[in-house]
């Protein structure tokens, strides 16, 4: 494994992050936006793990675990909100949610 540049995992992490950001900013469907957010979080996780290997310390792993815990909590609450939204407006398309307008 020592022939692999550190670029690869870090670059992949960056790519995941950017792809996730593109998804958040462009997709109409709220659920897909949430999924893109998960993608971003995973990109960060990958960076943590790769660098933890570089510095031979498990602190990076622990942080990755915390990220996962928070992601789980956030997904739960976010999905509950979406269900609530759907109940009120029968749509989960973000374009239609413009009560903040003005």
């Amino acid at each position: 494994m020592d022939q692999i540049d550190l670029h690869i995992p870090l670059g992949l992490s960056a790519a995941l992050f950017v792809i996730g950001m593109a998804g958040v900013l462009t997709r109409k469907n709220a659920l897909i936006v949430l999924m893109s957010i998960e993608l971003m979080l995973n990109g960060v996780n990958l960076a943590f793990v790769a660098l933890a290997r570089q510095s031979q310390s498990v602190d990076g792993h622990i942080f990755a675990i915390f990220v996962m815990a928070v992601a789980a909590a956030e997904a739960a609450v976010g999905l509950a909100l979406i269900i609530l939204l759907f109940r009120n407006k029968v749509t989960v398309e973000l374009d239609d949610l413009n009560l903040l307008k003005g």
Partner: protein, 167 residues
């Protein structure tokens, strides 16, 4: 050698499935792609000697969170809609892509400063559940660990309260 190729393959897989998540029309397809992505990521973690994280990734992310997503998609009975760009030259879409691109450029530029290679060997118990457990419970991460458990409880209660039909 073989391991390097495997690494590259898994990385490619992650990338392709991530792109797939963001571009699918139907939410189910996106969700399944995301599951796929998580599996590939787990493999990468395992190759990077992050054994505990790899397992947790499958258990928590792929096994719990994505299941939740798919439940909700099926519950709301959502159909697909327009894909990534709708209509193609919508200014906001372009702006979003541009922003993402800019961030990427920044990160990439930062990466050019990094010249190291992946560390060769790690100790046998690096990344094992014992070492992780010892570091959490024996080190300064004990309090955040307990707080995280409280956080999860709160999230659970919150989700239940939010989604109830009548309070």
């Amino acid at each position: 050698m073989f391991l390097s190729v495997l690494f590259y393959l898994f990385a490619l897989g992650t990338l392709v499935s991530a792109l797939s998540v963001v571009t699918r029309k139907s939410p189910i397809a996106a969700a399944v792609s995301l599951v796929c992505c998580f599996f590939f990521l787990s493999a990468l973690y395992a190759m990077l000697d992050a054994h505990f994280v790899a397992v947790t990734q499958v258990l928590v992310y792929a096994g719990a969170i994505m299941v939740l997503f798919i439940f909700v998609i099926m519950l709301l009975n959502l159909r697909g809609e327009g894909g990534l760009v709708r209509p193609t030259w919508a200014p906001r879409a372009l702006a979003g892509l541009a922003a993402a691109g800019l961030v990427g450029t920044g990160i990439v530029t930062a990466l050019t400063a990094v010249t190291a290679k992946l560390a060769a060997e790690t100790s046998p118990e690096f990344g094992t559940i014992e070492q992780v457990g010892k570091t959490i419970f024996g080190g300064p991460y004990l309090l955040p660990f307990e707080v995280a458990s409280v956080l999860l409880t709160v999230a659970m209660v919150g989700a239940v309260v939010l989604a109830k039909r009548e309070l």
